[in-house]
Symmetry: C2
Subunit: 369 residues, 2 copies
Amino acid sequence: MPLNLRIPGPTPVPDEVLGELSRPMINHRGREYASILGECTEGLKRVFQTANDIIFYPSSGSGALESCIVNTLSPGDRVLGVSIGSFGKRWGEIARLFGADVTMLNFEWGQGADPGAVAEKLRAEGPFKAVLVTHNETSTGVTNDVKSLAEVIKPTGALLMVDSVSGMGAVELQTDNWQIDVVATGSQKALMLPPGLGLVSVSAQAWEAHKQAKMPRFYWDWTNCMNYQRRGENPYTPPVSLYYGLRKSLELIEQEGLQNIYRRHNEIGAYCRGAMQALGLKLFADPKYASSVVTAAYVPEGIGSKDIQKILEDKYDVVIAIGQEQLTDKIIRIGHLGWVHLEDVKACMACLRETLVELGHKVPAGATV
Amino acid sequence: MPLNLRIPGPTPVPDEVLGELSRPMINHRGREYASILGECTEGLKRVFQTANDIIFYPSSGSGALESCIVNTLSPGDRVLGVSIGSFGKRWGEIARLFGADVTMLNFEWGQGADPGAVAEKLRAEGPFKAVLVTHNETSTGVTNDVKSLAEVIKPTGALLMVDSVSGMGAVELQTDNWQIDVVATGSQKALMLPPGLGLVSVSAQAWEAHKQAKMPRFYWDWTNCMNYQRRGENPYTPPVSLYYGLRKSLELIEQEGLQNIYRRHNEIGAYCRGAMQALGLKLFADPKYASSVVTAAYVPEGIGSKDIQKILEDKYDVVIAIGQEQLTDKIIRIGHLGWVHLEDVKACMACLRETLVELGHKVPAGATV
């Protein structure tokens, strides 16, 4: 039985995409590569729903997030970090490490960012040069209402920068319509690729900010990247295999259609939440903000999340995630992101049920998953 | 006919390694990944000839070079950049961008760094906190005598940091015996992998410098990386497919034996230089410092390097590199690095001969390649 990889990334890669990864190397300064880079750029613009520039990095998503900070800000610039979990906290920390003057607005883990509270913070403590927002927070299984957040943030003139590492391509994000200046993502989530490619979209306002931004940078420098990309190259050697794969996965995304993909994730997310509740587990996220790509639930009293994880992997080849930081042993997290179908999550839930029973959890009578 | 990829990276990837790249994703925070990371670390230590820590990045080699700077230095620290070409120049530039006080010692392109001149610079303008040295400069086809350079640099107490992106695993570098504090490389050269993995070795003295180093960093932070690596993880999602490939390529390296690999490159390098001279081309590099992994030669009077490159690719599926910066149209560069055998370079030379004849070059009578 193949591994049922149910973590919020890396996500399973379709066979057609895996096959592309074994293609031989080519010259990264040649015509074939330029054509692949061009195709990938156009395809990504459709997924990002943007006409903005897309910048490619040989990096993880974290690298893409660092690039957003160092390309738009100078030391001392005031930044509002809107955090709803581990990744939101970390993005603010990156800005602080590079000398930004960071104000954090922390929401309780499991909650989304309340647009009213964000508006109030902006009014009371603004102006801020930039506001950092997480689209989908995998540490808690929460999706922010980015559209409503943008409606209160953009009128202040701040740059709106969105971490959509785990959201892009699975959860709707209208980069241009919602006026999002910078969006960062990575290859190993809804783009159905292995990790190793970081991606960032940059609006005209972000390019303006970039011109003034004094944080030191070389590897992440947008100007340098775009100077090369405009002629079909990158400043340094790109992860060529992932570009082969990306071209194919963008083709698959195009075939299914973005709206259908969002719908598939919504349906699977709803199913997963229902199934976990039927097993007698309490969901972690406020239902209002429940993520369609990762579901978190408290473990039953007296059962450790690591025990659940271990049995699922050893006995059923199902790999799930546990909590992060203070939640490590308190929640389990099921990823259903990218190349995922209802049957995969049903199989996972059936194994979870057996595991919970084995660990002494009383599954409610009549519960089916 | 398969592409004969004769650029100094990305280099051809053996079929066995390509096959590994198509393996399905696994949990990067699970036991299988930890075991792969452990195996790769041990294998790399043998290739680096070191007992030092090896740090892994999802990045190109340029990222690994940036990491060396920001992890060991503070703004204002005095750095000596020993440059013999485009990559040496760039490394000094990275240090300058992050606020180091950089003194450049530039040798004429085509020459290696003269240890006597370096010693004199250190005496006249030292002390320096760190000295940056390129092991193999692909822009010119020159390999530095790192052992002799180390002998004049280390007694000054400076950190010796070596860019071995194109040297490591093909050209001898005895990290520990020669007291090299920091060595950076990338996956897409002699390690016979696609691009996307940056690697750095860190000595005890470099760790000491790291503790004082104040340049801002998050993604590249060595402490953060090693805190995770010690427990079999990375701070952020690693490029899993490349680790599969690396495990295999390290196995291939082990089978052939490092000394045999160095010898193979030396033989191929000598053959390539001889063949190009036989074709009536003038070698670019001083023979004393000629690289065994990339050979550069002047193009004949009246023939452009781009014309040679284009015919080779269009007609023969042979891909070579041209010059960089001021040498763009003055030299051609043939890579013979990593998974390369004498037959590959012979085939390349035969096609080069035809191409030169087609372009009107008079190949010397009786020349065989």
